[in-house]
Symmetry: C2
Subunit: 188 residues, 2 copies
Amino acid sequence: MARKKEYIESEVIDKAMELFWKNGYETTSMQMLEKQMGINKFSIYSSFGSKKGVFLECVKSYRKKLLAITDKLKDSNNGIVGIKEYFYDFLEFAKDNNDFIKGCLVTNAANELNEDSDPVIKNQLSNFTKEIRGLFENNVRQETGFTEVQIQEQSDYFIVSMFGLSSASRVFNKPQLHIFIENIFSNT
Amino acid sequence: MARKKEYIESEVIDKAMELFWKNGYETTSMQMLEKQMGINKFSIYSSFGSKKGVFLECVKSYRKKLLAITDKLKDSNNGIVGIKEYFYDFLEFAKDNNDFIKGCLVTNAANELNEDSDPVIKNQLSNFTKEIRGLFENNVRQETGFTEVQIQEQSDYFIVSMFGLSSASRVFNKPQLHIFIENIFSNT
DNA sequence: TTAATAACTAAACAATCGGTTAGTTATTGG
DNA sequence: CCAATAACTAACCGATTGTTTAGTTATTAA
C-alpha cells in the first residue's frame, strides 16, 4: 500500500545506543544521532517520536545486551563469588572496540540527572538499578548465615559499589579498578 | 580614575560554584550563571574571560571550601580511621541547604567528560583527584606493616571508593551510603 | 495503470547556546 | 569642573538545540 522503510528499527537503535553510552543523554544531539543512525531526522521522529523516545528504546536494548552477563550471574548460583565475577564481566562489557572504557549507559545518564530532569527518564533509570540490585540480592541469599537485615545491607553495598565502579571506570585505569573490585570482596 | 565594580569577584564565583556543583559543566548555561551570579554577561566575560574561566575559578574556590575537611584529615594523623572520618565528613559537605546531596563538584564534572572534552578542564579535574589521593596516601603511610606496593594499592582503593561515593551520593539514600562506607573500611 | 499511502529529502521553525559590541552611566585624578 | 576611563545595560551575533513541515519518491492494492 505504501513505501517500505529502508532501515530496521532495532538496528538503528543499537547504533544510537553507542552514542548515548559514550556521551550520555544531553551531550548526544539529534545531529549526531542522524549521522550515527544513518537515517534522516524525519525517520527518527516517525519511528521514535522524540529524542527521549530514542533514548528509552536504547535503554531497553541496553538491557537486552546486558543479558549476556546478567544471565551468567543468574545461572551461576554461587552467591557472592558470582557477584564478584559479574563485576569483572562488567568491566569487559563496558569496553568499546578500541578498549576505551565507556562505563555503563544507565550510570552515565544517571550521573547527569538533577532535580529538574525528566521524570520518565529518571524513573526508567531508577527501575533499571533496582532490577540489578534484585539480582545481587538473589545471589546474596544463596549464602548461609545471613539475617534478613544483613542480606539487605549486603545487597545495598554491592549495588552502590557497582554504581561506583561504573562511574570510576571512565576515569581510572584497569589496575586501579581491579584493586577496587578485589577490596570490595576482600571481607567475604 | 573610573567606575568601581559593583560586585566582588570571589562572591559571584561562590554563587556560580553552586550551579556547577548541582548541574555539572555543560548543563549550566550563561543565562543561568547571569541570574545566579546577579551580574550581566558583560561583567562575567570581563572578569573571567569565558564560561570555562568561570568554571576553573569555581574549581579553585571549591578546593578552598574543601579545606575545611581536608585540613581535618591532614591534622588527624590517625591513618585509615582518619580517611573513614573524611568519607563521612564528605557526605555532610556534599549537602545543600535543603539536605539535597549534590555530590562532589569535581566528580560531577568528571562524569560528563569524554574523549572530545576540553583538555584544560580534563587536566584540572585530574590534578584535583591526584591531590586528594595524595592525602589518602599520607594517611595510609601512618599505618604500620604495609609494604610500598600495599600502600599504593590501599590509596588507589580509597580514591576509587571516594569517587564512587561521590557519584553514588546523588542517586542512593543516606542509609545505603553509610552501609557503603562501613563496608569499604570493614577489613581494616 | 492509477489512486492512495507512507517513507523519503531538505528546508525551516523558534528557542537557546556561548560570546560580542555599541552606547550609556558612574567614578576619579588633574 | 571636566576629560579620561572603566563598569554598566541591552541588543545582537552566528551556530546549534530539538522539532516540524512542505514537497518528492517509491510501493502496493484495486
